[in-house]
Symmetry: D2
Subunit: 332 residues, 4 copies
């Protein structure tokens, strides 16, 4: 299902080269002021073509409100937002049809849907749909802001380099795409969000995070480094009745529940699958392995566009949990 969330529920739809992509947000409290201007900063951040290393494809990406907003406020009914796809060049992709691109869903989608999938630009399997996540995130962030909660993500490493400019230069020099690390921090969370086991905060965040294309791993707090540590070093000593800890190896979550400290996690983003380099794949028509190279507009480092999407899905989860714990009212 293309839905997520329990009380604040997000449904996404659309295809990269269809007329538009969109999102329905169900369960948003009534009375939240919402206008096009609220979306500009985040949809701009998501766009390529601005910073070095991202694709020159650009969309105006202005949200078109279809339902759920009246007199500038949310009504409590489902909010539907469309984003038009103005800048599509399907021809680029149709030539490629017989050869499923490595790292893309061309092959798996074709097998799963019996060849009925919209293959143009990845169709429904396109990063284009992340604009829908960003839009839902804008609303979630606004809800959270009223409750004093702020999620912020940034690229911390490209191609293994902490100096991201240097990492990006490696890609440019190699004429290849590269991967990166993105870190997200959430401040202002109350103690008590999430549950043990299936609805742990880690479960919910990771579920949503792997909905972002190209993510290959996630770690909370000290994460994989914890596997090399001793217990006494990893445990965060409690310092006061509010739950403040001297260190934050847990990343703000203990027993699946927020502990009132900063929530911190990192994700690994693979190199963009569409690389300018020559590659090999199976050709369904010739029934032979073929060497080819992908034309078209692509990101050298897709990780650069991920932070705003990561903030969005994190905010969606947090807004949902805040509603569940009755920390956000049903009428704002």
């Amino acid at each position: 299902m293309n839905s997520f969330g329990r009380l604040f529920r997000v449904h996404i739809f659309g295809e990269s080269h269809g007329e538009s992509v969109g999102v329905v947000i169900d369960g948003c409290p009534a009375g939240l002021p919402l206008e096009v201007a609220d979306f500009v900063e985040d949809t701009e951040r998501r766009k390529g073509g601005i910073q070095k290393g991202t694709t020159p494809r650009k969309e105006d990406d202005l949200p078109i409100f279809k339902s759920g907003i009246f007199n500038g406020k949310t009504t409590g009914a489902p909010i539907t937002i469309l984003f038009e796809n103005n800048n599509t060049r399907s021809g680029d992709y149709e030539k490629q049809r017989a050869v499923p691109r490595p790292g893309h869903a061309d092959f798996t989608a074709h097998e799963k849907y019996g060849g009925n999938e919209d293959f143009r630009g990845g169709g429904h399997f396109s990063g284009r749909l992340t604009v829908c996540l960003v839009a839902a995130g804008v609303i979630a962030k606004k809800l959270l802001k009223g409750a004093g909660v702020i999620a912020k993500a940034k690229v911390t490493e490209i191609a293994g380099e902490k100096d991201t400019e240097k990492g990006l230069q490696k890609a440019i020099d190699q004429k290849d795409s590269v991967g990166g690390i993105v870190e997200c921090e959430v401040n202002g969370l109350p103690i008590g969000l999430g549950e043990h086991f299936f609805d742990s905060v880690e479960s919910l965040i990771s579920h949503a995070v792997f909905a972002i294309p190209a993510v290959r791993g996630i770690e909370f707090g000290t994460g994989f480094a914890a596997a090399k540590m001793y217990g006494v070093d990893h445990n965060d000593a409690l310092e006061n009745a509010e739950g403040k800890t001297s260190t934050n190896h847990a990343g703000g979550i203990v027993g699946g529940i927020t502990n009132g400290n900063q929530l911190v996690f990192r994700i690994a983003v693979k190199p963009t699958s569409s690389t300018p380099k020559e590659q090999q794949s199976w050709n369904w028509e010739t029934k032979e392995v073929e060497t080819f190279s992908i034309k078209g507009r692509h990101d050298l480092c897709i990780a650069l566009r991920v932070p705003v999407v990561l903030e969005a899905v994190t905010a969606i989860i947090m807004a949902d949990l805040m509603l569940l714990e009755q920390r956000i009212s049903r009428i704002i």
Copy 2:
């Protein structure tokens, strides 16, 4: 909610020092032969006290069937299985009540549930409940086996050492607990399980995996190392019409969907929170930071007990997806 799954649905309940813990499995196809003997291997693997580095606490851990099984087969009705808690020493924990143990859910559960939580031995927040996951996993594995799918997990690293004996010795020498890495492989999967975005295989697996206590990170295929790679090196070239790839950096999942290659992922397990070392925490009664040490029976390396639990949750997800894709029948 203490439930997971869409068609093959698992509900867990119980407390570490209550009379028993249990699981309800709803949606299991009818006609699957099931007897106590099916559970022994996996519940034994989960137990401590056998291998060096695990807690001497032992339970008989024989499954008690309460519903859903008739004449040695599943009936299609919900299957309920209890495991008695025979070997509890609550006194060990009650002394500790005023001081929330670092790394445990003592503090967060207390705040979330207003002091009503069963604090004995972690209560509902105890690793004891993983026996319920293991039991559901036994059933899922049996369903999968009939369809040619097998999940297998193993510890690949302890305390940073690939030689796990050596890693464990570090813990013994340090008189402290240590973390580790566990890897899971699934063979025999068809192409086409999972969906893009919210129901990606990575989303579902990670959701379930973070329900296992002490997990701090997860990575699929090449995982975090992918963030340092170039695109041409990370992409797996398709070699034939069945989707075989020359490499498996993707770990068997592309676009959220299984591609017919081996599914591979790894998780990071933190050091057992209950370490024999002296620690500090806030004392709710004295309202001061206190130095203390935890008595009782504990694992030096909880990662050693994780593989069978990891196999279980993986099998649960896979059985669910196989049912969704109509790869497993509703009547066996």
Copy 3:
């Protein structure tokens, strides 16, 4: 939530006097041929203005496909369909704002959403959204038709008259709206859909049916008359190994599960709340009870427009259950 269904999942959105209303259908198998022409018959049936007793408001009501359809077939991705609202006269309603109309959601929506609801023409609470249900029903019916299942509904009584023309004349004579009874039959169902208890066929159908505005009751098979019967008269004797019964008091469902006989149920539809007669209600501004009459275009007997909507929600449920029981394939 404005969603329903487990595998074939329907989400509706929009407001009566917004720009459009719409529906997202998630989980529809790939490969189903679908074109605008498939929708015309049912959207025409739903429209008013054709038959005596229905409102003259008309919409073109042509479905606008936004996602999920490619080369004339479903792709397996979410299908989004919009219907434009061309023929709205909000002015009719704005005058009425201070006086919540009896029988309408004006008062309850206002209280629930703190006055933020779109009140124009009932906003999200309008029968206008049933066009979305009809559209989802068209797709469900097409899936079912391929499996030999057909749902058909008709008005069987108006204003207490089995001769519906006579019943309608009573409304015209009285210059008032009237209620009616609608019956739905489903033929071709296999044995075994539904479950006992919460997922009984009756539970699922009634859940969906009460989503249709103006429905006040539902009964299966002999229904309320069964409360007056003796057991030996109500029981349907089984006549052969295929489950054929001599009578059908059960309406095709025993123990919550279809028994292979015709599924039959009836619903009670209240008189249209918007009657031309004078009424009384509370005026929020004057803070007094006020006598008023509703202007605008309305149905004398809304039951006349219900059959196609009832078929639709029934088909949606049946398609979902057929997918669950693996009676409809994931790829057509």
Copy 4:
């Protein structure tokens, strides 16, 4: 799935002639005092053998708490309650195995589950499981009571007689079972529970009500009689700012949402399927229609045992909606 509810979630399991039946309640707020004594009144009301017309089968029906309760209060973790089946005479039923009883799920369960179902006494398809609903209802009622909400149901008609003693006598005279009508009223509800369309209060209540075996119809407020009425007579005029209406044809729900007036609905209960009269059915073994009569202990009028179950499912829905609208706190 044998589950229902969104925040206050109920899972039932067990078989009539198994060792026990049980229920898991997930999402109950922490801190609610709960003891065995709380359950006695309602489990006694559900029992047969006390009043004329109900089966002499008796169970002690004392709840056995397995999880979620500590120091006499709910902990916030899942609450598991078992009820032992002490008084089963499976032999009564095994003789009957070859002949599916009319009106029972014998035939449909057999076909659905491929003959693997537990057929003894109806197995999972037995009214025995309503004790689980009653137990969940006890907890829901206690939550509601704290919020000033009370649900109360009673039999209003037996065998077509409003004088229920007279109706019951008809059954005794005819040596047959009879049906009846049960009415439920809920007082003290706030305005604003429920949503339009799929989560209407009518949708949720009817979904849960049809989980009660033998229910054949439901109507809200004036119900089926509304189909014979004129609009001006059916509409309830609003009399004040709190939403009080002069009449209550709507039964307390407008637009799917509670309007602050009394919630009223009625259900039709069919005659007990197990009648002492001779009946006919197909014999799977002889492959012929066979005349037989059912031995064993049965209710003449199952409707007599329904009120407490109806209150229970109604309370479960209302508790869920009160939690959703933040009218009940997560910690009591």
